[in-house]
């Protein structure tokens, strides 16, 4: 997993509400077992390309300097809809490392942490203010995200604190392997199952019927 600590970069505002993961990566680009590394080009396809396949000049990531953005500033409920993890991969493969928004789809939010993409949740008014500052500077105003301090700062010097559960923060900073960590608890998992077999035997015997 990619690690994250701090980042100062071009930030691209994409403030439309309810950008679902079907918009982030269309289904036809993610059918198959070896899609990793092929997705960056298809991130936000329906917004990014015109029907003839050429770049949509109005889409933020097609404009300079936002082309080089490593941070996205997003509208409410970003990443709602489908559980597809390739949505996170596509965003990362497009070069984005952090997303600042007022709220994210639950499953997308979890998927971000699994891959070292940092979703920052701030008050809607704050997100709006950051987007406006960036827009007024035509994107030249950079944004910093500091995970050690749990703080977002803008070029004008405004500071906004965000909160994140310590275990998620540590996992991002250290690039933790969740499966490895859980398998260290395997004796507890097996003890749970042994007890549970007594309490709810039907959970463990269904397969015999099928």
């Amino acid at each position: 997993m990619k690690k994250f600590d701090r980042l100062t970069a071009v930030a691209a505002p994409l403030m439309r509400a309810n950008i679902d993961t079907d918009i982030v990566i269309p289904i036809n680009r993610m059918v198959g077992n070896s899609i990793r590394g092929t997705l960056g080009k298809w991130a936000f396809s329906s917004l990014r390309y015109l029907p003839d396949g050429s770049d949509n000049p109005e889409f933020v990531l097609n404009r300079t300097p936002y082309r080089d953005a490593e941070i996205l500033i997003v509208g409410p409920n970003f990443g709602c809809g489908s559980s597809r993890e390739p949505a996170v991969w596509a965003i990362q493969e497009r070069g984005i490392k952090a997303i600042v928004g007022s709220g994210f789809g639950d499953i997308f939010y979890n998927n971000c942490f699994q891959n070292g993409l940092l979703p920052v949740v701030l008050d809607p008014a704050v997100v709006q203010a950051i987007a406006e500052e960036v827009e007024q500077s035509q994107g030249t105003s950079h944004v910093s995200v500091d995970l050690e301090k749990c703080e977002v700062t803008t070029s004008s010097g405004k500071r906004y604190a965000f909160s994140l559960e310590p275990r998620r923060r540590t996992a991002l900073i250290e690039g933790l392997d969740e499966i490895g960590a859980t398998l260290k608890l395997d004796s507890e998992i097996r003890a749970f199952q042994a007890r549970d077999r007594e309490d709810r035997p039907w959970i463990y015997t269904s397969r015999a019927n099928a």
Partner: protein
């Protein structure tokens, strides 16, 4: 202290408390499908790990297989994924319900129908509509692909505890108002992020009176409300639905299980973080007009006019949606011409859904400019429907009767609504490009979709009435 059903479900699965309101939870049931299943099994193998409990894991094929009669013409990548799923499930000792076998079907149709899903289980699947299974009283939710690997390797999942929300539906709904309409109306009221961060319990008299398949439909759209998990309390109807299904417990084990399931409903005085109450008597059959499930109105309603919306962002969002959908502000939604009708998906492809649609279609013909598909949710639904002659009702009317799977709900098998064409669909997402690039989707109930197929326009099924 009185407990919510959610607390009972959650607490009984905690293997370890990890702090920060986060727990390591035991996963009782895990269902794999062709879109992500083989990749997950290969990932686990590549890491040198074993599937922790293959006997608690099931698999089926739904997303990429063609729904064409005779199953000819699955896209090449689908063929590869299906082949890989067969190989990898066999190697891991996982029961696969394969194409043309009873049991194959859309994950969220076959799980409940086989009794893989049971009240009180914690069930996951790499698919956001896993919340559907909550209609049997399970704690069920969709997980991402990394989480899926974690489940395979450890039979557990790390989750942060959500807050609780109860939605009480009260009253008797008007004729032609179905469970789909009730849940769409709720989403219209609270928005697609109204349930974000919550586990939602659907309760109230309307839910108590509702048949099990209707509850599955209601729970299916939880994720369109932003809620990863949605469920209803199990009751006698739930037990009757499950008794005798292939994977449900039998004999003494069944009696013991039912005894335990009776303890699951929320205690009388349980407290929820958020409560919503809905009077269903005021709800008309629903239809979406835009590109989010919250863009929904009653069939007698008018398409919203952005000029009337004071909030600039909302105004722009509505305008963008109308541009995509090719609709005129302020006009009545009824009468809009339709090119496609899709009856299927994990929302509305069960026997009761097909019966409701067939009732409208019987003895009628579809409008010749419409292409209309019925895709049953599972092999068992298909066989039951054929036994009742429903396939003939649809075929006689000019519908295409297809093989079970996800099909045009997501178009991941290549079955698409062509660009710019308009579809009335019984599925759950009207997102931009969901049914194919530039396809325009209107979500509605099976009866409403059937009515649109007959008239060739978006139609109030109450005006059309049932067929002969």
């Amino acid at each position: 202290m009185p407990q919510t059903m959610f607390a009972k479900l959650w607490n009984s699965h905690v293997v370890a408390d990890l702090g920060d309101d986060t727990a390591l939870l035991h996963v009782d049931r895990h269902i794999l499908h062709d879109l992500g299943g083989s990749r997950a099994l290969l990932d686990v193998k590549e890491r040198g790990l074993k599937v922790h409990n293959p006997e608690l894991t099931y698999a089926t094929i739904d997303h990429t297989v063609t729904s064409a009669p005779g199953r000819q013409g699955t896209i090449p990548r689908g063929v590869e994924l299906i082949h890989a799923l067969r190989t990898e499930t066999a190697a891991a000792g996982i029961r696969l319900f394969d194409i043309d076998q009873p049991g194959q079907g859309i994950v969220h149709v076959m799980g409940p129908e086989l009794g893989i899903t049971l009240p009180g289980v914690l069930l996951v699947c790499g698919d956001s509509h896993t919340c559907t299974h909550g209609g049997l009283g399970a704690l069920a939710f969709g997980v991402g692909w990394s989480e899926l690997n974690h489940v395979l390797a450890t039979q557990t999942l790390i989750q942060r505890r959500p807050r609780t929300m109860r939605v009480r539906f009260e009253g008797i709904s008007a004729p032609a108002v179905t469970p789909k309409d009730l849940i769409l109306a709720l989403i219209g009221m609270v928005g697609t992020d109204g349930g974000t961060g919550y586990a939602v319990e659907y309760a109230g008299g309307t839910i108590r009176d509702m048949a099990v398949e209707g509850r599955l439909t209601v729970c299916n759209l939880s994720v369109e409300l932003g809620a990863k998990m949605g469920f209803t309390a199990p009751d006698e109807k739930t037990f009757a639905y499950l008794e005798g299904t292939a994977c449900a417990p039998k004999g003494v084990s069944w009696l013991r299980a039912v005894e335990a399931w009776r303890q699951l409903p929320s205690d009388h005085d349980a407290v929820f973080d958020r409560e919503v109450e809905i009077d269903v008597t005021k709800i008309a059959p629903q239809i979406t007009w835009g590109t989010s499930p919250e863009h929904v109105i009653g069939i007698d309603g008018r398409i919203p006019d952005p000029a009337m919306i004071p909030n600039a962002e909302r105004r722009q969002a509505v305008q963008l949606a109308l541009n995509y959908m090719g609709l005129m502000p302020g006009e009545a939604i009824a009468g809009t011409p339709v090119d496609w009708v899709f009856i299927g998906s994990c929302t509305n492809s069960r026997l009761s859904d097909l019966r409701a649609a067939a009732e409208v279609v019987r003895g009628r013909k579809i409008n010749p400019r419409v292409r209309a598909w019925v895709v049953p949710g599972s092999e068992i639904v298909k066989r039951d429907a054929v036994a009742e002659g429903l396939d003939q009702v649809f075929l006689n009317a000019g519908f295409e009767w297809r093989e079970p799977g996800c099909s045009m709900c997501l178009a991941s098998n290549g079955e698409q609504v062509p660009p710019g064409q308009r579809s009335v669909s019984t599925s759950n997402r009207n997102f931009v490009g969901r049914q194919g690039p530039r396809a325009r989707t209107h979500l509605a109930s099976p009866a409403m979709a059937a009515a649109a197929a007959i008239t060739g326009t978006i139609t109030d099924v109450r005006r059309l009435g049932t067929g002969k």
